[in-house]
């Protein structure tokens, strides 16, 4: 993984010291809360309902075991013994005090970590495929490019006060595991006619109040031109983007208002000016960064026999293997998803003790490397198949081996009204009740791939629009009301879910989801995914089941 040199280290330490000064000026009263707010946000510090929350950056979701141990120490020392992994592949600590934040940042800097640009109207953490570098279907490892984007976007002087937050995702395989269609900029890697690295560039995707899928702006962008093209897009956005209305200030609104063709004309005109500037990437810098992502040395002669035998002997191991393993480009190896979704648990939460234990397992089984996924799980990406059974037993004893990746209990949920000052309803208790109920149904009927995401407000942090079943918590006349969308997807076949009908109360929502699933089971073809059945039959049977046939005229 990327290792800081003295320049990277210096910047992170100086930024921590700078933030220490900003906190001191807030505490002394020199800065008002209004002045401090945009400053603290761009360093990941939120004021939530009960406490400050610090969101720590995990660039493109990649962690070393020693960084994971540092997160565990922070969880113990400054929080209540746990942390919460987010859909942006970051981690947040929900119970920190303002006074402690500078110390936390120093502790982070000591392990090459920081909270730079994890919030605020600036360029956020660039996200990517959690299987980057090891996926069997990959064209090229996107992580060096994500690191190049990280460096370019860090403390970018021109784009530190954008109209709104800005999120970039990059995917290196034909199968999209980075949800590029719902990002401000989505980059999908491909090879040019002469085998050279390039990107198809998408722009203007996003969720929130106005969900939109990104539109293609450039079919092929040579790798060396990546930063100049990003800079051109950001510059057009900075000048042309709306600042009068919070909900209309994302780039998706600008692209939609101008039309993609007009927007492209503006970007290409800007790009013509800067394409041959110092932003052009030099081959030796690309090579330097690529070298830091060299894959670990693999044993070419792993015997897969024991793995097959154990699956045959142990049904629970077989079930976990079927659900939580991903094909590896290196024969005899697998990428393992560590589920942070125990049945009835809080999605994405992890105790300090489990963080430490997982760091040890990463050292023992996966070259000391851990990845955070945008589904709020973790990945050990380099595991020998002949050691999978031992790893599984160790994970199982830590309650980290729920066999549910992309299944109905792999629920994505935002912190919701239990923590977040923006939330209009609770997400976590709904996720917990749903998980407990749906685990039983999945046990009996093998529901296969079925994603459920729960957002506690229209800002859509849990990406409910692109879940097969999305749940949005709103407030109606003083009570929580949960609106259900069906048919979203963030994969290659990306789509925005459609609202099924009126919302459900907090005491009705679990039963409503169960009704949807029971209805589906009656019309499901053998082995069919929920999403495919829905696309085949449409929403009507589900609407009828939820609201009765009489409601059809509504």
């Amino acid at each position: 993984m990327y290792k800081y040199d003295h320049l990277d280290n210096t910047l992170v330490r100086e930024r921590a010291a700078q933030f220490r000064g900003q906190v001191a000026r807030r505490i002394s009263g020199e800065l008002s809360e209004d002045e401090f707010k945009p400053l603290r946000l761009r360093n990941g510090l939120y004021l939530q309902l009960h406490s400050y929350m610090l969101r720590v950056a995990i660039p493109y979701g990649l962690l070393s075991s020693s960084q994971m141990r540092a997160l565990a120490r922070i969880a113990r020392r400054y929080d209540r013994g746990y942390g919460h992994f987010t859909t942006r592949q970051n981690i947040q600590f929900n119970w920190v005090s303002l006074e402690n934040t500078a110390e936390i940042l120093d502790d982070l800097a000591a392990v090459e970590m920081h909270a730079i640009q994890t919030s605020g109207n600036c360029i956020r953490n660039t996200t990517t495929d959690q299987f980057a570098g090891v996926a069997a279907d990959e064209i090229e490892d996107p992580r060096p490019w994500a690191e190049i984007i990280r460096q370019w976007s860090t403390l970018h002087p021109e784009f530190s006060f954008l109209p709104r937050k800005f999120k970039i995702a990059i995917n290196g395989a034909p199968n999209d595991r980075a949800a590029i269609a719902v990002h401000d900029i989505g980059l999908s890697m491909l090879r040019g006619p002469n085998g050279e690295t390039g990107f198809t560039v998408w722009v203007g995707g996003g969720l929130g109040r106005t969900p939109m899928l990104a539109k293609p702006i450039r079919d092929f962008l040579p790798g060396a031109d990546l930063l100049s093209y990003l800079e051109a897009i950001l510059r057009v956005f900075n000048i042309e983007g709306r600042r009068d209305n919070l909900y209309k200030s994302r780039i998706k609104i600008l692209v939609s208002a101008l039309g993609i063709d007009r927007f492209r004309d503006l970007v290409e005109a800007e790009w013509a000016h800067i394409r041959d500037s110092a932003l052009r990437l030099e081959g030796r810098e690309i090579a330097r960064i690529r070298a830091r992502f060299a894959l670990p040395p693999y044993d070419a002669n792993v015997d897969s026999g024991p793995f097959a035998a154990k699956r045959f002997e142990d049904a629970a191991f077989a079930r976990w293997s079927a659900a939580n393993l991903f094909p590896h480009k290196q024969p005899g190896h697998a990428a393992v998803t560590v589920s942070l979704k125990p049945v009835g648990g809080i999605p994405g939460d992890m105790t300090a003790d489990r963080m430490d234990a997982l760091a040890d397992l990463a050292d023992e089984y996966s070259h000391g490397e851990i990845r955070v996924t945008h589904r709020q799980n973790l990945v050990l990406a380099h595991v020998r198949q002949d050691r999978l059974f031992d790893l599984w037993r160790a994970l199982d004893s830590l309650e980290l081996a729920t066999p549910n990746l992309m299944r109905v209990t792999d629920i994505i949920a935002c912190p919701g009204l239990d923590f977040c000052g923006l939330a209009t309803a609770r997400s976590i208790p709904v996720a917990q009740r749903l998980s407990a109920r749906l685990a039983e149904i999945d046990e009996r009927h093998d529901l296969g791939e079925l994603t459920i995401n729960i957002s506690g407000c229209i800002n859509s942090c849990a990406h409910h629009h692109v879940a097969h079943i999305g749940i949005l918590g709103l407030e109606k006349a003083g009570a929580e009301s949960y609106q259900v969308t069906l048919g979203g997807s963030s994969a290659k076949d990306a789509s925005i879910g459609k609202i099924i009908g009126r919302g459900f109360g907090a005491d009705e929502i679990v039963a409503a989801i169960e009704t949807i699933i029971v209805t589906w089971l009656e019309l499901r073809h053998d082995g069919e995914r929920f999403l495919d059945s829905l696309r085949r039959v449409g929403q009507t049977p589900f609407r009828d089941a939820l609201y009765g046939q009489d409601s059809r005229t509504e």
Binding site: D5, L39, L155, H156, P157, F161
Partner: protein, 174 residues
């Protein structure tokens, strides 16, 4: 009124020699003055003949492209920041320096905090009027807080990538 003057790589606190002339006020005859974009556009032909240092003030929504032909005549362009969230003029300053070759002063005015002036400097600003009640003298240390830059901008500071490869000659990506 004091301001921070960042020239020759050396920030200092100075008294402001300039007057921001209000819409209906008379132009001073003895000191440099800035005008609003509107007033400049209305009076520029007449002002061209005067032997006086002049500047134009641009609000955050106003674009520098409106005064491109006038740039050689202008000694200062004041770019206004109405609040902490409006960063359009970071781009304006870079365009002035890097695209339009403006060598005069670029001044930041409005809600300017010490926390913004270093990125502003990197974008080409060299004068800073801090927001009311903010301590100008202590703010000049803000330029020393971050010494490493990752991206090229309007300043001459070498980027991290340039420093890393300084030893050998340039090669381009294939």
């Amino acid at each position: 009124m004091t301001l921070i003057d960042y020239r020759n790589e050396n920030p200092m606190v100075t008294d402001d020699a300039w007057t921001h002339v209000a819409e209906d006020a008379a132009l001073p005859t003895d000191r440099p003055a800035t005008l609003s974009l509107q007033r400049w556009k209305a009076a520029r032909e007449e002002l061209y003949g005067r032997n006086l240092s002049l500047g134009v003030r641009l609000e955050s929504h106003e674009r520098v492209e409106e005064i491109l032909p006038d740039l050689p005549r202008l000694a200062l362009i004041a770019l206004d920041f109405p609040n902490l969230n409006d960063g359009r003029h970071f781009t304006t300053a870079r365009l002035l320096r890097e695209r339009y070759g403006f060598h005069g002063k670029i001044r930041a005015t409005g809600q300017v905090l010490r926390d913004q002036i270093d990125p502003m400097r990197r974008c080409g600003f060299n004068e800073f009027e801090l927001a009311e009640n903010k301590d100008t003298a202590s703010a000049i240390t803000a330029f020393d807080e971050i010494s490493v830059v990752y991206q090229p901008a309007a300043d001459a500071q070498p980027t991290a990538a340039q420093l890393r490869h300084r030893q050998s000659g340039p090669t381009m990506a294939g």
